[in-house]
C-alpha cells in the first residue's frame, strides 16, 4: 500500500516545515534551477517561433475542450475500430473498479506501470493492493518514491526532493523486498544508482504480462495513444506485456495526428529542457503478433467536466503536465510538492487541484493563495495558461464562502478607509500622531510580518498633507 496525501495540513502550515528543512531546500534549489536553465536555453533558440507554437498549442487545446463531446466520441470509435476497448469512468472509484476488474480478468496479480499522473490522481496502486494486485512502478523516480514509501513531489521528477545519498539508502534497504536486491557496495554515483534500478527492473519487465499506463496525448481521428519519456522503461511496459490498460484524462485529446507537431516541440523543451525527448511511443489499438494483444482505454472524468463549466478556470485543462511552472515557481522551489497536499503541486496544482476536488476543505481553500502572483508560471507555460488569473478567480470563490471572518473584517475596514479621500486623510492623521506607539513586533496575524522583517517607520506627515502645503508654497 503506498502513502497518500490525506492528513497533510493546509499549505501555510505544511510549507513551514518544508522551508525549515535545509536539505530539502538544497535538493530542490539545485534540481529546479538546473532544469530551468536548460529549458531557458532551448526555448530561447526558437526565438519568435516559440510564441507562435505557444499560441497554437493553446488554440488546439481550447478548441478540443470546446468540442470535447465530439472528439471523445470520435476517439472511442477509432480506438474500437483499431481493436481496442473503451471504458468510461466518472470518478476515481469507478476508474479503479474498472482497472481492477480488467486486471483480474487476466488472472495476473502483478502489473508493471508506466509513470502516469492520472493513476496517481485516482490512487490506483492502493485500490489494486486492496484486491491483492501489486503494481510496480517502472519510472526511475517513481520507483524511488514507491520503494521509499514516500509521496511524489513533482509531476515529472517525483523524487526531486531526494538527494542521491538518500536514494542509495532507499535502494539498499528496500529493493530486495520488492524484487532483485541492490548490489552490495552500491555507491551514490548516479550511474551506479541507475544501473541498480535497471537490473532490478529488467527482471520485472520480462516476467510481467499486464501493464498499466497513462498517455500524454490521445489522437481522436486515428485512436492513437502517445507517451513521451526519457528512460525507455515506459516503452518496455508498452511493448512486452500481453495486456495494456491505459487510464487517460478526458482532456488529453488532440483532434489529429498533425496536431502533435506543436506539442512534440513544446513539451520536451518545457519539461526536460531537451529539443526532443529520447523515447516517444505510440500505439493504435492492437496489431496481431506485435505488442500487447489486448488493449483497454479507460477515459477518466473525475471532476474534469465540472472544471469545463467554469469559463475562467477551464483553461487549467489545457495543461500538458510539462512541469515548467513548477520548476520556475519561487514558492515551489522553497516548499517542494508535498506541501500542496496533492499529486499536482506547484502553480498548476494550486489551480487544478481545488477545481478537481472542489473547495470544501481547508487544504483546498488554501491552495489558491499559495502564490505571490509573480507571473513566472504564466510566462513559461507552453499552452499559455494564465495561472495568476485563475488563482485570483479561485480566491474570489474562497472569499465568497463562509469563514475567514478576521480577513473579511479587515477588508471591510480597508474598504471604508479607502472609500473616500477624507477618510483616508483622517486615518493618516491618526497614524501619524500614533507613530511612536507602533511596536517593532506585532501580535496576531501581522506577527507573520514582523517575525522576520522590520516594519517601516510611519511618517509624521502623509504625502497629501505635504502636497497641500506645497500647493500653498509652503515647501
Amino acid at each position: 500500500m503506498s502513502a497518500t496525501f490525506l492528513g497533510i495540513p493546509p499549505f501555510p502550515e505544511a510549507a513551514r516545515a518544508a522551508v525549515d528543512d535545509s536539505r530539502l531546500r538544497h535538493n530542490l534549489r539545485k534540481a529546479t534551477h538546473t532544469i530551468r536553465d536548460k529549458r531557458g536555453a532551448v526555448v530561447t533558440e526558437l526565438e519568435e517561433d516559440w510564441e507562435r507554437l505557444r499560441s497554437e498549442g493553446a488554440a488546439i487545446k481550447s478548441h478540443t475542450l470546446r468540442h470535447l463531446d465530439h472528439y471523445l466520441e470520435q476517439l472511442e470509435s477509432s480506438v474500437e475500430r483499431a481493436g481496442g476497448h473503451v471504458h468510461w469512468a466518472a470518478d476515481a472509484a469507478e476508474a479503479n473498479a474498472i482497472v481492477t476488474r480488467l486486471v483480474q480478468a487476466t488472472g495476473e496479480t502483478d502489473v508493471v506501470k508506466v509513470k502516469s499522473m492520472a493513476t496517481q490522481e485516482i490512487e490506483l496502486n492502493n485500490a489494486l493492493a486492496e484486491a491483492g494486485i501489486t503494481a510496480y512502478e517502472t519510472d526511475l523516480a517513481e520507483l524511488i518514491v514507491q520503494l521509499g514509501d514516500d509521496l511524489p513531489s513533482h509531476i515529472l521528477v517525483p523524487a526531486i526532493h531526494l538527494g542521491r545519498s538518500q536514494i542509495r539508502e532507499i535502494f539498499l534497504d528496500q529493493m530486495a523486498e520488492w524484487g532483485v536486491a541492490a548490489p552490495e557496495g552500491l555507491t551514490d554515483d548516479p550511474r551506479a544508482l541507475a544501473e541498480a534500478a535497471r537490473v532490478h527492473l529488467r527482471e520485472r519487465f520480462l516476467r510481467t504480462r499486464t501493464a498499466i499506463s497513462g498517455a500524454n496525448f490521445a489522437v481522436a481521428d486515428s485512436g492513437t495513444l502517445v507517451v513521451l519519456e526519457s528512460e525507455g522503461n515506459g516503452r518496455m511496459c508498452l511493448t512486452l506485456p500481453e495486456t495494456l490498460i491505459s487510464v487517460v484524462g478526458i482532456e488529453k485529446i488532440v483532434p489529429t495526428w498533425a496536431d502533435l507537431e506543436v506539442f512534440m516541440q513544446t513539451l520536451p523543451r518545457s519539461s526536460t529542457g531537451e529539443r526532443m525527448n529520447p523515447y516517444t511511443s505510440t500505439w493504435t489499438g492492437v496489431t496481431p503478433g506485435d505488442g500487447p494483444q489486448e488493449f483497454h482505454l479507460v477515459l477518466l472524468d473525475n471532476g474534469r467536466t465540472d472544471v469545463l463549466a467554469d469559463t475562467v478556470g477551464r483553461q487549467a485543462l489545457r495543461c500538458i503536465r510539462c512541469s515548467a511552472c513548477l520548476n520556475t515557481c519561487p514558492v515551489y522551489e522553497r516548499t517542494g510538492g508535498h506541501a500542496y497536499g496533492s499529486v499536482y503541486p506547484g502553480p498548476i496544482g494550486a489551480i487544478l487541484t481545488p477545481q478537481l476536488r472542489g473547495m470544501s476543505s481547508e487544504v483546498d481553500e488554501a491552495l489558491p493563495y499559495a502564490s505571490s502572483l509573480c507571473g513566472a508560471c504564466y510566462e513559461v507555460c507552453p499552452v499559455a495558461i494564465d495561472i495568476p488569473e485563475v488563482l485570483v478567480h479561485l480566491r474570489e470563490e474562497v472569499a465568497a464562502g463562509p469563514g475567514h471572518l478576521g480577513e473579511k473584517a479587515m477588508m471591510k475596514g480597508a474598504e471604508a478607509v479607502l472609500g473616500s479621500s477624507h477618510a483616508l486623510n483622517a486615518a493618516q492623521h491618526a497614524a501619524g500622531a500614533a507613530r511612536n506607539l507602533v511596536p517593532r513586533h506585532l501580535p496576531g496575524m501581522a506577527g507573520a510580518w514582523t517575525d522576520t522583517r522590520d516594519l517601516p517607520d510611519v511618517p509624521a506627515e502623509s504625502f497629501r498633507q505635504w502636497w497641500n502645503k506645497h500647493e500653498k508654497g509652503q515647501s
Binding site: 505571490s372 509573480c374 477588508m411 496575524m445
Partner: protein, 246 residues
C-alpha cells in the same frame, strides 16, 4: 506637459518622500504636476485577495478621478499593472466601467515609462554618487514589460555605479497579503533576495515599487545589513545642487 499624479495609498501613507521626489523631478524637467483630490487606492489588495466587489468600486473611483488627465503617473509598478491589466477584467464586457477603462488605461504610466516613452528623456540630470543595484519587480518585469527603461535611466545618472544583481528576475516574496498568509515562504524568498542584494556589493537597492522595497528593506534592516533601499524616484530626483532629497 500636465501630468496627474496617482500617489497610491501605500506611498501616500508610508512613503510620502517618493511622491515628493516625483513632483520635484517632473517640475525640474519643466512639467506641471497635478494631484487630483479624490484619489485613494487602486484596489489591488482587494482584487488579489479575492474581494472583487470593493476592488471594482475603487476602480470606478480611480476612473472618475483621472478620466480627464492627459497622462497619469503611478510611482508603483504593481498599481500601474493593476490598472492596466486587471481593471479591464473587473467590469463586464460593454459595461460603463470597461469602456472608461479602455479609454484611460493607455494613458496610465509607471514613472520610468512616462520619462522614457512619453517625455522622451533618459538623462534626467540626476547626480547620485553611489553603487546601486536594480531589482526589476515582477509587475514591472512581466506585466508592464518595463524592459531596459529603468536601467537606461540609471545609467545616465552621474556618479552612479550600476552593479549586477544575481537572481534579479525572481520574485522577492512580497505579493501583498501573501506576505502575511504565507509568511514563512515569503520570508524565505525575501531572505534570498536580500542575500543577493548584499552580495552585489551595492550600497543602495532600488526598484519602481515601494511595496517590494518595504519587504526587502524590512529583511535587510532586521539583518542589520547596512544596505538601504530607495525608490528609483529618489535617485532620479537627486542632483548635485540639492543632494539626495530627504
Amino acid at each position: 506637459m500636465r501630468i496627474a499624479l496617482f500617489i497610491t495609498c501605500v506611498n501616500d501613507t508610508l512613503f510620502p518622500d517618493t511622491g515628493r521626489h516625483v513632483v520635484r523631478l517632473l517640475e525640474r524637467l519643466g512639467h506641471e504636476v497635478v494631484f487630483p483630490e479624490g484619489q485613494t487606492c487602486c484596489g489591488q489588495m482587494h482584487y488579489n485577495t479575492g474581494y472583487r466587489r470593493p476592488a471594482a468600486k475603487l476602480a470606478v473611483r480611480f476612473v472618475r478621478t483621472f478620466e480627464d488627465a492627459d497622462a497619469v503617473v503611478v510611482p508603483s509598478g504593481s498599481c500601474a499593472a493593476m490598472i492596466r491589466d486587471n481593471y479591464p477584467r473587473l467590469g463586464g464586457s460593454g459595461s460603463r466601467l470597461s469602456r472608461k477603462v479602455a479609454g484611460l488605461a493607455p494613458r496610465v504610466y509607471d514613472l520610468t515609462e512616462l520619462l522614457v516613452d512619453v517625455l522622451g528623456v533618459t538623462d534626467v540630470g540626476a547626480y547620485y554618487p553611489h553603487k546601486v543595484a536594480y531589482h526589476p519587480t515582477c509587475h514591472g518585469l512581466r506585466m508592464l514589460g518595463l524592459g531596459d527603461r529603468p536601467y537606461r535611466l540609471l545609467r545616465a545618472v552621474r556618479g552612479l555605479e550600476l552593479v549586477e544583481l544575481a537572481g534579479a528576475t525572481e520574485c522577492c516574496g512580497f505579493g501583498g497579503t501573501f506576505a502575511v498568509k504565507n509568511g514563512d515562504v515569503s520570508s524565505a524568498m525575501g531572505a534570498d533576495k536580500a542575500r543577493h542584494a548584499v552580495e552585489s556589493g551595492a550600497e543602495v537597492l532600488c526598484a519602481v515599487d515601494n511595496s517590494c522595497l518595504m519587504h526587502i528593506g524590512g529583511t535587510l534592516s532586521r539583518q542589520r545589513s547596512g544596505l538601504r533601499v530607495a525608490h528609483i524616484a529618489e535617485i532620479l530626483a537627486s542632483t548635485e545642487k540639492e543632494g539626495a532629497l530627504r
